[in-house]
């Protein structure tokens, strides 16, 4: 079976000057992801995780190598993806439900039917918000919600157009530990019911092991994938699983890889971002 996401020998330099110097943000990325797979990418900050996101959404074209997603080579912004970041970046002049509907005003086929089917789309947005526990808050403004609620709304916005792939760049990084664990479960349930692919970029190892099917460890300058670790914990996973020895062993193992890399990098190389 063909892979849903297929990176073959992908290199990226941010501009021609850096390319001429042979200075790459990410190097020699090979990645094959099955349909419906949840992968996580962990690594030290500045290792090119965000660059990887830009490649996977088609916002950046690789300097070398090819990227195929859903059987097509990526040659521009990829509308079958949804994105969410550490900052929820909701629009303060729109209500929560209007924020979630924003992508529908932009992406086809929703865009051209937005006026006629507004009521239908709004019902859909409300349903999605209710499914992440924001029932009753749909008509509030984002600044009336807590940080965790805003992030839930931001994820809803990323999912409203039913993308095949969800890209998350440290989405829970700014939240407190309890809220973060709640949102892990929200994301787990959403993915279990809708079966979209997820690429989660994070520096939280517990988060990556709890949520992902496969964890990739990235090294810093050069930004490469150095370790691939399949997480064979059975699904559905309960938060309790994070306290089992199997879970802790995997986290420990990943921590070991990152620790080794940091030691190697301590000899001194500048941050490439």
């Amino acid at each position: 079976m063909a892979h849903f996401v297929d990176f073959r020998g992908v290199w990226l330099a941010y501009n021609d000057e850096l390319l001429a110097q042979g200075h790459y943000a990410v190097e020699d990325i090979h990645l094959q992801v099955k349909e419906g797979e949840f992968i996580a990418i962990v690594g030290p900050s500045g290792c090119g995780k965000s660059t990887f996101m830009k490649l996977a959404t088609g916002l950046k074209r690789p300097s070398r190598g090819t990227i195929e997603i859903a059987g097509r080579e990526v040659d521009g912004p990829l509308k079958i993806t949804g994105m969410a970041f550490q900052a929820p970046s909701l629009l303060p002049w729109r209500t929560t439900v209007a924020n979630v509907m924003l992508p529908l005003e932009i992406v086809e086929p929703y865009r051209s039917t937005f006026k006629q089917k507004k009521a239908e789309y709004e019902a859909k947005a409300r349903k999605l918000l209710q499914s992440v526990g924001l029932g009753g808050y749909e008509d509030k403004f984002p600044w009336q919600l807590s940080g965790g609620m805003q992030q839930r709304a931001s994820i809803c916005r990323a999912l409203i157009h039913e993308p095949k792939m969800l890209l998350l760049d440290e989405p829970f990084g700014a939240l407190d530990a309890f809220t973060r664990e709640e949102l892990w479960c929200t994301l787990r349930d959403l993915q279990a019911t809708q079966k979209f692919n997820v690429i989660l970029v994070t520096h939280d190892l517990r988060e990556s092991v709890f949520l992902a099917d496969t964890v990739y460890v990235m090294s810093k300058s050069p930004g490469r994938f150095v370790v691939k670790r399949e997480i064979d914990l059975p699904r559905p996973r309960d938060l309790e699983v994070t306290y089992t020895p199997e879970f802790t062993d995997i986290v420990h193992e990943l921590r070991g890889h990152i620790g080794a890399m940091r030691k190697a990098a301590a000899s001194g190389s500048e941050v490439a971002q």
Partner: protein, 256 residues
Amino acid sequence: MMSRKSLEQASPWILLVLVLLVWELLCRAFNVSEFVFPSPSKIALALQDQAGLIAGHAWRTFWVTMAGFGLSIVVGVLLGFLIGSSRLAYTAVYPLMTGFNALPKAAFVPILVVWFGIGVGPAVITAFLISFFPIMVNIATGLATLEPELEDVLRVLGAKRWDVLTKVGLPRSLPYFYGSLKVAITLAFVGTTVSEMTAANEGIGYLLISAGSSMQMGLAFAGLVVVGAMAMAMYEFFSIVERRTTGWAHRGSQGH
């Protein structure tokens, strides 16, 4: 006792009354001549005696200012939109605009007289020249400071530049726009008055000069008071418009 909130609301008026009282007392205590520095009561008297005359000039200054201000909204918004939505335009236009803004606008008045003659023309143009800059800068800033993540979220969906500008950029720059109107309207009054002082036969600026040259200091001061009051009233008007239209940007302590 007065609550803290109502004290805060009354404070500008209390201060105004105090200043007027001290002014009045100083004028009386030192017996300052009316031809040098009239006391508030003398100014009030002049206002009352020559109410018709002052009102005529004030009306002229008011509509001339509004005309210049209207022009500066149109031009300021268009220029701001242009330089805020394109990096190239921003880099190219901004230094020139800053240089232009540094020029004293009063210096343009003689040139404008040559072009438009004595009267409405120079006053409208001066009001415009002095007040479009803050509007332009604020629109441009609102547009140019979009969060890059949000732009990515939209671009990946296939959003065109125009989508990003209309869905996010413009609403985002509205609070900046209304904020700038408050500043610009007061500047526009300055422009009109300065221009009328040399290039008009009507308006508060003209009144100031003619009253001054005939030693009617009470009348001159009354003219100043009227310009100040009009500018403050318009400032308040735009503050209210700002709060009504972009309340989400001024939520104070109720948000996070």
